[in-house]
C-alpha cells in the first residue's frame, strides 16, 4: 500500500484527496489543515485518512511515502523541503514557488535526497491534451513550431475579494498562479525553453482587480518557435469553458476545440467535458506510480523551471508593459 499525505484542505486539496482515495493500492494517510473542521471534511473523502494540523507528525509517519503539497503558493517551498528532508517523494501543486531560487533549492534538495519531485500540472493529464501531445511526439506533424492557445473560463476564485489568489504578493500574480498552466503546456508541446515573453492583461468585470482576470502573452522559444497564449477568466457564465489549441508543425497541424465536446442543452449548468475530464484522477494514478517507484514523473523538473521562469517574466512584463527575457540558470535543469 502506497501512503500519500495531502498538505492542504482547500478546493484543490479536496479534489486530490478524493482522486487519490479512488486509486487502487493507495491510502491517503493524512490531510493537513489549520481549520480542523474543514480538514476533517476533506479527510472524510478518502477511507482511512486522518485530519491533522501537525506537519511534523505527518512527515514522521513511516507509512507516508509521498506528499501532495497543496495550499498557498507561499507555503510550497518550505513544506516541500520539509517533506524531502523526511525522505518523502513530493508532488507539489503549481506554481511550485514564487521565485526561482526557492524552486532551485527544492529541486536540489530532491536530487541530493534521492526522492522524486514533480510539479502537479494537471492539464497534461487531460485526455485531449494527452492525445494531442502524443500525436505530436510521435511525429505526426513534424517539428512543432507554432502554438496558438485560447483558454476561456467563467470563474471567480472562491472567497471573491478575500481570495489570496487575487493578491499578487501571495500568489505571485495571475501570470504565475495560472500562467503556469498554458506555459507548461506550450513547453511540453513545443519542447523548448521560452526566451522572451510579452504580456497584456485586462480586467473584464472589475477595473480595480489587483490581478487581471484575463491576459494574453507572446512567447518566443529557443530555436525560434512561437506561441500566442490567451487566457480569460471573464466568461459570463460560471463553469463555462472555451479552449482551443492549434499546434502547427513542419508537416501538419494538430487542433482541438472544446466546442467539439458533446453536451446536453437542458438549461442546467455546463456538463463536464470529456476532453478535459478526469484529469485529476489520471494525475492521481500517475502520482501514485511515481511515489511507488513504478513511473518517472511525466512533468520534468527542467520543464517546470522553464515554466516558472517564463511565468515570472510574464508577470514582470504585465507590470512593466515591456517584453521580458526569461531568466536562464538552474544548472542542469536549464539544458
Amino acid at each position: 500500500m502506497t501512503g500519500i499525505a495531502v498538505l492542504g484542505s482547500g478546493g484543490i486539496a479536496r479534489a486530490h484527496v478524493a482522486a487519490l482515495g479512488r486509486v487502487p493500492g493507495v491510502r491517503v494517510t493524512h490531510v493537513l489543515g489549520s481549520d480542523p473542521g474543514r480538514a476533517a471534511a476533506v479527510a472524510a473523502l478518502a477511507s482511512g485518512a486522518t485530519a491533522t494540523a501537525d506537519l511534523d507528525a505527518v512527515l514522521a509517519d513511516p507509512d507516508t511515502h509521498g506528499v501532495y503539497v497543496c495550499g498557498r503558493t507561499a507555503d510550497h517551498p518550505a513544506r516541500t523541503l520539509a517533506a524531502i528532508a523526511a525522505g518523502k517523494h513530493v508532488i507539489v501543486e503549481k506554481p511550485p514557488a514564487r521565485d526561482l531560487a526557492d524552486f532551485d533549492a527544492m529541486a536540489a534538495a530532491a536530487r541530493s535526497a534521492g526522492v522524486r519531485l514533480m510539479v502537479g500540472q494537471t492539464v497534461r493529464f487531460q485526455p485531449a491534451v494527452a492525445t494531442l501531445e502524443a500525436a505530436c511526439r510521435s511525429g505526426r506533424v513534424g517539428d512543432p513550431r507554432l502554438l496558438h492557445l485560447n483558454w476561456y473560463v467563467g470563474h471567480v476564485w472562491p472567497g471573491a475579494w478575500r481570495s489570496w489568489q487575487l493578491d499578487p504578493r501571495q500568489s505571485g500574480g495571475h501570470l504565475v498562479h495560472n500562467g503556469m498552466h498554458p506555459l507548461d503546456l506550450a513547453i511540453w508541446l513545443l519542447g523548448g525553453r521560452p526566451e522572451r515573453v510579452f504580456t497584456r492583461g485586462w480586467c473584464t468585470h472589475a477595473p480595480e482587480m489587483p490581478t487581471p482576470d484575463s491576459f494574453h502573452l507572446t512567447v518566443r522559444f529557443a530555436g525560434g518557435a512561437l506561441a500566442m497564449i490567451e487566457v480569460s477568466y471573464g466568461l459570463r457564465d460560471p463553469g463555462d469553458v472555451l479552449r482551443r489549441m492549434v499546434l502547427c508543425g513542419t508537416d501538419g497541424t494538430l487542433a482541438h476545440h472544446t466546442a467539439d465536446d458533446t453536451a446536453p442543452s437542458d438549461g442546467g449548468p455546463p456538463a463536464p467535458l470529456a476532453s478535459t475530464g478526469d484529469a485529476v484522477q489520471r494525475q492521481a494514478e500517475h502520482a501514485a506510480a511515481v511515489v511507488a517507484g513504478r513511473a518517472e514523473p511525466l512533468v520534468e523538473l527542467r520543464h517546470s523551471r522553464w515554466a516558472l521562469a517564463a511565468a515570472i517574466a510574464a508577470q514582470r512584463s504585465l507590470e512593466t508593459g515591456r517584453p521580458v527575457d526569461v531568466a536562464a540558470g538552474g544548472g542542469d535543469l536549464d539544458g
Binding site: 513550431r145 485560447n150 497584456r200 484575463s214 480569460s232 466568461l235 459570463r236
Partner: protein
Amino acid sequence: MAEPLRTVLVGAVRHATGYAELLAAHPGYVLAGVAESDDADAHARSDARAVAAAQGVPLWRPEDVSPDRADVAVICSEPTRHAVLAERMLGLGLHVLVDKPLATDVAAACRVVEAARAAGRHCAVVTRALAPPIRRLRDWVDSGRLGLPRSVDAEFLSSGTHFAASVERPELLTDPRLSGGGEVMNVLGYPVDDIRAATGCEPVEVFAEAGTLFWDEHRSHGVEDVAVVSALFTHGLTASIVVGRVPAAPGPGPGTYTLRLIGSHGHVEVDVAEPAVRLYSGDGAERLPIDRSPVAAVLDDLHAAIRTGRRPAYDCADAAVAVATIDAVYRSLASGAPEPVDAGSATEPEADVSPRSSEERAP
C-alpha cells in the same frame, strides 16, 4: 436602370483572374480593359496580356486609361505598386478599388488618401470587413448582446499545401521588392480591419514576434512566414492576433480565419468560412460557403457609393489604418519593443463625392 460601371484592371497579377470573374458576375460592373505599363516587369506584362486575352478585352497602357474608357480602376498589381497606380488612376478621375494592402508604407498610404480627397473620387480597398460574417459580428456587438468588447483574438492561417495553387508566383508574397514584406504585410490588415469594424476601436500600440518557421521561399527573401501580435486598441480593448502561412491550416480549404470576442456580457466565436455546406468526396472535405464572397461585398459597397455619393463603408482612409498597424508591427519586430500605431491624418474621411451617373461620362 443605370449602365454598369466600366472597369479596368490595372495590373493583373495574383487575384486578377478572380477579380475579373467577380466583375463579370456582378450586374453593376463590366470589364472594359486591362492596363499594364510597358516598363512593368516581364511577368506582370505577361500576366496582363493573358488576362486581357482570356476576358476578351483590350490591353491598354496606363496612360491610355481615361474617364472616356472607364469609370473604375481595380488595382491588381504587385503590392509595392498599389499606391502609385491608385494615385495615378485617381488623378485621371476614376474611382478606384485597390487590392490589399493599400500600400506598403504609411507615407504612400497617406498619399493615396490625399489623392482621393483631391480628386473627389472614391478609393475602396479589398477587405473582409464588409463580408457577412463580420457584419453579423458587428451587429451582435452593436446590439449590446455581448456588452462592451474587452478582447478579440484572431487567427488567419494560410495553408502551404495550397501555396503553389493559390499564388502562381510565390515571390509576389515573399520578395520585398514586390510584396513589401512577408505574411504580416500580406494578411495582417484583415484582422485589423475586422477588429475595427466589429468594435469601433482603433489600434493604438502593438508588440510582435515573428519568424520564418516553415518555408524556404520566405527564408530566402528574409521575410517572416508567421507572426504573433499583441495589440492595444482604444478603450482598453486588447487583441491577440496570429497570422501566417503554415503547412496545414486547421480546416479544409486554402486557409482558415477565426475570431473570438469577449465582451463584458458575453462572448462569441466566428469562423468566417461558416456557415457553410460541407462537401465530402474522395478528395476530402470542402466547405461551400453560403455567404457572398468578401470581394463581392466590397464591389457591392463601392457600386452603391459611386451611385449615391456616400462614402464607402470601407475606404482608403480605413486601409491606411491597417497599413499603419502593419508598419508598427515591423517597427516592433525591429526594436523588440511595443510601438505606437501612427496613421497620421490618413483616417480623415474623403471629401464629399458626388454621385456619378452614366450621363456624366465624357462623350
